[in-house]
Amino acid sequence: MKKMPAHINKDNVVISIRNLEKSFGKNHVLRGINLDIYEGENMVVLGRSGTGKSVLIKILAGLMRPDHGKAFVLGKDVAHLNYRELDQLRLKIGFSFQNSALYDSMTVEENLCFPLERHFKHLSNREVDLAVKDALKAVGLSHTIHQLPSELSGGQRKRIGIARTLILQPAIMLYDEPTAGLDPITSQEINNLINEVQNRYHTTSVIITHDLTCAKAVGDRVAVLLDGKFVNVGRFATVFASDDERIKSFYDYNFVT
């Protein structure tokens, strides 16, 4: 079980979600959810496939608009920003995609340089080089620097995807299923990486997963998304001590079978 880091600042709510609703046609995915995430905290969002976890963080990053309710990120109402303001905000958010979303036509190095060179024009070539090497070292993939994404394994792609977002040193990290489809050892490495990012940069993170090992290892708190609502939010042990059958079964299937 993870120990709660000392630097979580409960006076500063970084992400605040209020009565958020989102439907696709007749498919009511999010049905009024509420959540506050504190500065420096790792918040895990748990839920079965198709419950709208990806939709939730896409709303946080401004990729989708909610139908009702509000999402405040760093005090800004995401759905009501103009392009400029949204871009300003996005520079402070790192988004690690479920399917990595690496740029196919670019090498690993170019994937990492690309956002850096565009947003930090004052950096010298050497500084960019250094940042790229550091980011790759952090995810343990220094040797892949000249490879194309198509030449990497799924797990490697995922780690490069995380490196690409870390390189901008965002204040907020959104991880969409960082360990899905990875072997237990690589998963463990990713979990360590997420914790290291939190400890080193005091990043606020939202980690989406249905992997309870991951939730336990990285989550300061977990929130369980069920039928479009958060049914339980709290520390891992507290949440899974609950009597709620649905939460219990989620736990049992994950660990027993």
């Binding site: 996005r90 399917n99 979303a101």
Partner: protein, 266 residues
């Protein structure tokens, strides 16, 4: 984000026709967005140049071969009709007019629609379904500007150049054939050929190529950018990009020819 099509059971005309007009409307909007964003900074010079190079590089070989063969074949096929009137000396003028007014803009556009249009449709389509477009967006890079504006500019600027290149190669082919049969010299062939060409001809062909290039860029980008339904959608995007671009090119050709003829007469 893609446009979502509502599938209601009541159609204004029929399902296909409604969809067709919806598509035209959506493409027009897409083009409107292009004009809004093309003038706003930041300008993607480097990427635009890279795309121009791509467009030229991808179509050059095919345009070269096709135009050369077209020049030869067209000359060969026209000869008997002119020979009937003993007017084979008109061959250079006839061929030049046909190539510059009609063949060069149209054939270049069709080749580019096939090669470049399918490529843009597939490339943007796969970027869409693998969330690379979302990835650009969350890293505060305007994907429309970076991906669409650069490609549309590239096709629009490159098509007139390709068209002129195509016309010259086709005339070379025509010259070789005329030279072999009528023993006309290089200088006299091109002198006769260009004497029959007016500035209006060249202007209208360049204009046509600009419009065709714009059409190819917009339609194929639209198809790629709005791809849905996973990898299957990528194939559909590439395919429909070519079909829709070619269809619009033919319609535009008919309209422009009408307008130009009106100018010519007036």
């Amino acid at each position: 984000m893609g446009t979502t099509k509502k599938r209601s059971r009541h159609y204004v005309v029929s399902r296909q026709m409604d969809q067709f007009f919806f598509e035209i409307y959506a493409i027009t909007q897409f083009a409107g967005r292009f004009f809004k964003e093309v003038f706003l900074p930041p300008y993607e010079f480097k990427e635009t140049v890279r795309q121009c190079y791509n467009v030229g590089y991808k179509s050059l070989a095919l345009v070269s071969v096709t135009s050369f063969v077209t020049g030869i074949v067209f000359t060969k096929q026209s000869r008997p009709s002119l020979a009937e009137f003993g007017a084979t000396s008109w061959l250079p003028s006839l061929v030049a007019i046909a190539i510059i007014r009609a063949l060069a803009p149209l054939v270049t556009a069709l080749i580019a629609a096939g090669k470049v249009g399918s490529n843009i449709g597939a490339e943007l389509g796969s970027m869409k379904v693998s969330e690379q477009i979302d990835a650009l967006e969350v890293s505060a890079i305007n994907p429309f500007k970076y991906l669409v504006v650069t490609r549309v500019l590239a096709t629009t600027l490159m098509l007139p150049l390709l068209m002129i290149y195509m016309a010259l190669i086709a005339l070379m082919g025509a010259y070789l054939n005329v030279h072999a049969n009528e023993q006309v010299s290089f200088v006299s062939f091109f002198e006769t050929a260009f004497r029959s060409i007016t500035y209006l001809d060249i202007f209208s062909s360049v204009l046509k190529s600009l419009i065709f290039g714009f059409t190819i860029g917009i339609v194929s980008s639209y198809k790629g950018y709005t791809t849905t339904r996973g990898t299957q959608g990528v194939g559909i995007a590439a395919n429909t990009a070519v079909v829709a671009a070619m269809f619009l090119i033919f319609i535009e050709e008919m309209i422009i020819v009408q307008i130009i003829n009106w100018f010519r007469a007036g």
